[in-house]
Amino acid sequence: MSIFEYNGSALVAMVGKNCFAIASDRRLGVQLQTIATDFQRISKIHDRVFLGLSGLATDAQTLYQRLVFRHKLYQLREERDMKPETFANLVSAILYEKRFGPYFCQPVIAGLGDEDKPFICTMDSIGAKELAKDFVVAGTASESLYGACESMFKEDMEPEELFETVSQALLSSVDRDCLSGWGGHVYVVTPTEVKERILKGRMD
């Protein structure tokens, strides 16, 4: 059994027109037993950068706390928020530092950079960044997510259409994965607002 299959997770981020969407499932399990159906995998670092962490839940929580700490230090020193590209570099460095004893997490970072240009990125557990222009996926359902996103993605989608596409891709992929599911949590971020929606999915 792989360490990533201990808790189960599904994460996806997609780019739209001057907006992005980041979505996760809501199940937290201990191997085959479900212990929570409202687990938050996506956290806000600041207004325009969101971080989703898949993999081992305990490492995800520890890593999240370390990153919030580093970001707060940055805010104090620089008197501004971190750009998403900078934040991605920070996460990559923190993960690579533990190259020979890694955190068992795969982060997905999504944010609005300069001139409201959406930025998404994912990494493996030792910090190898993958910058994509369309979508990134992580978690136990990643293989199905790759397939669903590859066929459903369109360039330059408006926020409402982007929400529909991300939701459909997420729900259809987690339906084919035992370890993730129990609904979805979708954040659609535009330069003016953050829309957080909870989806109803199959409860098995």
Binding site: I3, K195, E196
Partner: protein, 273 residues
């Protein structure tokens, strides 16, 4: 003296804090994760005016392609570039680190970096970690002493060659080089040969795929041809795309308007007593 509770940013290098825990998990039957590799076909050759480097653009995670268009030709110095194969995090980290060290060295000496400097910095680092930093590199550049091309293996050994290939597709690419390489190639002949070698890796090796990236380095100039050739375009997408008339069921919606940052106005009114 008790350990500090605050976790200050560390001084650099690797941290082995979690090794014991990970070993304990491994003993309990939990297998460690697979890292993103770059499968890869990377090549380099020396032509009459300098060096040409080439790479494919596929990154794999086990059998799945996780990135269809990644960059494998890394910048080291204005006159030196390095292609990387092996574990993606290792190639990126090691080339970034040596690139910063070269920049600092340039500031110290006031001179253009030499390829052998980059070579020595890389091989010392890789040997130091006895092959655990799994990065196989093709380093090429043009400096005051002329054009140079080197290969660096994960354990720290190096070779200096007129043409070189590395990665899982290296045999396919080397076959092309061995039959068609000759000394004194022109720029166009060189680019054509490198493209052919990478294409042979893309089509015959499962770990390599997508597009061809080329980097031409000559004395005083460099040209990075990103996606020089795209032999695998996506032709199957339907132009209509998917539309979802029946909406997803939403249980709860929460809208948070993003507040505008306060603007500082210079030269406001002076404070009254």
């Amino acid at each position: 003296m008790s350990k500090s509770v605050i976790e200050m940013p560390p001084k650099g290098g690797f941290s082995f804090d979690l090794c014991k825990r990970n070993e304990m998990l491994a003993k309990k039957g939990v297998s460690p994760p697979s890292f993103r590799k770059t499968g890869t076909t990377i090549v380099g050759l020396i032509f009459q005016d300098g060096v040409i480097l080439g790479a494919d653009t596929r990154a794999t995670e086990g059998p799945i392609v996780c990135d269809k268009n990644c960059e494998k030709i890394h910048y080291m110095a204005p006159n030196i570039y390095c292609c990387g194969a092996g574990t993606a995090a290792d190639t990126e980290a090691v080339t970034d680190m040596v690139s910063s060290q070269l920049q600092l060295h340039r500031y110290h000496t006031g001179r253009e970096s030499r390829v052998v400097t980059a070579l020595t910095l890389l091989k010392r680092h890789l040997f130091n970690y006895q092959g655990y930093v799994s990065a196989a590199l093709v380093l090429g550049g043009v400096d005051v002493t002329g054009p140079h091309l080197h290969t660096i293996y994960p354990h720290g050994s190096t070779d200096t060659l007129p043409f070189a290939t590395m990665g899982s597709g290296s045999l396919a690419a080397m076959a092309v080089f061995e039959s068609k390489y000759k000394e004194g190639l022109t720029r166009d002949e060189g680019i054509k040969l490198v493209t052919e070698a990478i294409c042979s890796g893309i089509f015959n090796d499962l770990g390599s795929g997508s597009n061809v990236d080329i980097c031409v380095i000559t004395k005083g100039a460099k040209e990075y041809l990103r996606n020089h050739l795209q032999p695998n375009p996506r032709t199957y997408t339907s132009s209509k795309g998917y539309s979802f008339p029946k909406k997803t069921e939403v249980l709860l919606t929460k809208i948070t308007p993003l507040k505008e940052k306060v603007e500082i106005i210079e030269g406001g009114d002076a404070m009254e007593e």
